[in-house]
Amino acid sequence: MFNKMKGKTVINAAGRSVPLEINGQPVVPFKGVGKHRPAGVKYAPPIPTCSDYPTDGNKVVSSLAEALQKCGLRSGMTISTHHHLREGDLISNKIFEIASEMGVKDLVWFPSASFPCNDPVIKYLDDGTVNRIEGSMNGPLGRYVSEGKMKGTAVLRSHGGRVQAIQDGEVKIDIAVLSAPSSDSFGNAKGTGGDSACGVLGYAKADALYASRVIVVTDNLVELPCFPMEIEGNYVDYVVVVDKIGIPEKIVSGTTRITKSPDRLLIAELTASFLEKSGILANGIRMQAGAGGTSLAIAVFVHEILKHKGWKSKFGFGGSTKYMVKMLEEGQMGYILDAQAFDLDAVKSVETNPNHVPYSVFNAYNYHSKGNLTSMMDIMILGATEVDLNFNGNVVTHSDGYLLHGIGGWQNCLHARNVILPIPLFRDRIPVIVDEVTTLCGPGELIDVIITERGIAINPLRKDLIKSVKGSGLPLKTIQELKDEAERICGIPERAIFDEKIVAAVKWVDGTVIDVIRKIKT
């Protein structure tokens, strides 16, 4: 049966040609939004027993290598990490260095995201220590994959899709290596304290619950209990103490910055104005905006409007920044529910403000759960590398075909009530609006508004929104008009040319395959 499927592709519900098997495992093609019905029971890790663990609770071992050996590290295993240390992460690369020295082969690295600081992993992909990465890839790692150099096929998932894959048993984590800014000897761990504080550990929770083995690595061993713990020691096998888990200034930026670009500020102003004039922005709204320069500017403009009208947002969902913290502190936001803190003000706020609440992506984004936070959000501000005439969005590849970004929470957030993409109409001659996205990451039916510096296009499916801004004076255009305008300025672009070979699969939030990325033709 498997052999028959090998190499076979089908056209999925989004019209994309996708395989029925990836890395030797059968996969389900995308069936449409909300159409796939999962069956069976959730995955569970093996049952442990207290009799295997020290009665005094002290699980500290001498080194990461020892911990990995004790966890039975061997070829073919799946190793997970989280990305809370971002560009300052000193642990992930270390794992594969140790594995390489041990002669272990064909590992699957399953990070919640990778960063440019993880580029050294390319060495371990080259020498066969690592078979593939199932997680986001930026810069050189993405290029490596696009050029067909990775042995296995990459699998890209959203943050929520990653949790879904863990929960449903699509990915079985053999060893989770979880860096923690503070931990006690039992393995209770949190994201605050010490020199490497990152605020929260929202992306590590599912790994701790579902991995067969869990190693906590810390540079700040505290007395038991490490409180308030985000990771509970009952799930942890070993604790490793190192000098440094990360480079502090690269973990959180000292300060997140609003864009200074006049064009981006214009887009931000236009977005705030659209939110106000359409009536989406109202007392009690629930909103989310990212940490990009334009999103921050939008947050500031929205804050001004809320203040001016005497309104208050019920809650905001993080990634949190100082601008969101300011809304909380000045009374224009009730709570921040937070999966990651982007700057020092946000880290401090998590530590000190009881209304700034760590909130795991496990609860916020997982599609295979009893409802999730994203569909309750009124305003969702997102980006994209490309949007097509059917409002389909791409966030992972550029128009030249190269894989350059992860999905992050983007797909999950598409389920919000009003999904708004403030994006420049072209970036250095590259038009953002295309006939058909290079890689489909999100179906157009979920994307409501595109806001560019040269006009706003509302998805024709959102008749209510179109009606709400009629006669508002906003520069409304069709998406076709926006595309034509960009092409008149930039010229009509050629398309990237690909080989047949599939180098990465893009999963939808329910685990089905929405699209694939093929090898760049060189």
Partner: protein, 407 residues
């Protein structure tokens, strides 16, 4: 023979560098490095070949280092490189888009005019989006002396290709002979207004004006080309009234305080005590000549509150506009110089009184016990028109007033 034009390297966007070497008997060899090679590689090569062939170059080695330059920029850079090696007066002209052929009027509002360095394409592309009254493509101080030739070509192409969305299309030329050369290059491409920098005598205005009229006559251009001399020295200030009167095409007089304070040997302060007399003098000279007085730029782009104060002072003194060096300054300046609520209300009363008097056949217009002169009505009408344009007043305000009175 090798020539280089344009810019490349870290931080450079929307531009390209051309390195051109003329050869013999080798044919054309183009080596393109571009971040948009997949999307536009073929069209960049094709355009480059067209430019080479236009200048009858059959053998050359060309290296293009591109950071997303638009076609009009690539063509300008190619032309500039070629002209360093080949004597040829012809220009390789991109299409003059139909949106770029509008004309402006003597008495239009000139609240904000945005300076764009003439050799930096990335700042030009979206400049029109920020609602400046005018956009200045600058060939003078923002362009290094050795880059004047390539900037002139780039500015010419920008005038044909970049849509400034209704902003008055301005060029600041260099002084003296170089300025006259600038005019040859830009005037045939629909310039609405020319800024004459460091203007000290009426003769300079007359020279520029004469050169322009001979160019437009030759080219059969119908649109007027207005002038805005910039006073930047003590001598210029002393001559400001005669400069303003030097040509009917002078529509506005600007003051440039950086150079002016340097000429006086004092430093420029935020309060501006050192230039108070100069600014007042310029305003009076301009008004006496029936021209718009325009204030200097406010150079701290981070200080929006300081800018707001500066605009209010400026307007209170009698200035009718101000320069800007960053697009974020435009909105503050436009709002500052635009009529405020009280002015709009007053203008409404004046205009309705005038219309009423006309309907009744009265020769004299009075508001309450005050007689109103015609220029006052004209200015009120201007305020009304502007308020409508700025969205501060409904088009049908006069009907709305009478219907309200009817109730």
């Amino acid at each position: 023979m090798i020539a280089t034009a344009g810019n490349a390297g870290p931080g450079i966007r929307s531009d390209c560098e051309i390195i051109l070497e003329l050869k013999s008997g080798t044919g054309i060899d183009i080596d393109l490095a571009s971040k948009v090679k997949t999307l536009y590689g073929k069209s960049i090569i094709k355009l480059s070949e067209e430019v080479l062939s236009f200048y009858k170059i059959k053998n050359a080695k060309v290296r293009i280092n591109d950071s997303g330059a638009l076609p009009f920029v690539i063509a300008a850079r190619m032309e500039a490189a070629i002209k360093k090696l080949v004597n040829n007066d012809l220009g390789f002209l991109p299409e003059h888009i139909k949106e770029n052929r509008y004309t402006t009027s003597v008495d239009r509002f000139r609240f904000s005019r945005l300076y764009l360095p003439g050799n930096t394409p990335s700042l030009m592309l979206n400049a029109g989006l920020h609602s400046a009254s005018g956009i200045i493509l600058d060939l003078e101080d923002s362009v290094a002396p050795e880059r004047k030739d390539e900037a002139r070509i780039l500015v010419r192409n920008a005038l044909r290709q970049v849509n400034f969305l209704g902003a008055e299309r301005m060029v600041r030329i260099n002084r003296g002979a170089m300025g006259l050369k600038d005019l040859q290059s830009v005037i045939p491409h629909n310039v609405n207004l020319v800024l004459i920098p460091k203007c000290e005598t009426p003769g300079e205005v007359i020279n520029v004006d004469r050169e322009i009229s001979s160019i437009i006559k030759r080219a059969g251009i119908k649109n007027p080309v207005f002038l805005m001399p910039i006073i930047e020295s003590a001598l210029g200030l002393e001559n400001s009234f005669s400069i303003a009167k030097a040509s009917k095409n002078v529509v506005a007089m600007a003051i440039g305080l950086e150079d002016f304070t340097a000429d006086l040997g004092v430093s420029r302060t935020k309060e501006g005590k050192e230039s108070l007399y100069a600014r007042s003098r310029l305003i009076i000279a301009a008004k006496a000549a029936g021209k718009q007085p325009i204030d200097s730029v406010f150079s701290d782009v981070g200080d929006m509150e300081g800018l707001r104060q500066n605009v209010l002072n400026s307007k209170a003194m009698g200035f009718e506009g101000m320069g800007c060096i960053h697009p974020r300054q435009i909105a503050v300046i436009n709002q500052g110089f635009a009529p405020d609520e009280a002015e709009i209300e007053k203008s409404k009363k004046i205009v309705s009184a005038f219309k009423e008097a006309g309907q009744k056949g009265l020769g004299v217009v009075a508001l309450g016990s005050k007689m109103i002169d015609l220029p006052v009505v004209t200015r009120a009408q201007k305020n009304i028109d502007l308020a409508i344009r700025l969205g501060k007043l409904s088009k049908n305000w006069i009907k709305e007033i009478s219907s309200q009175e009817g109730k």
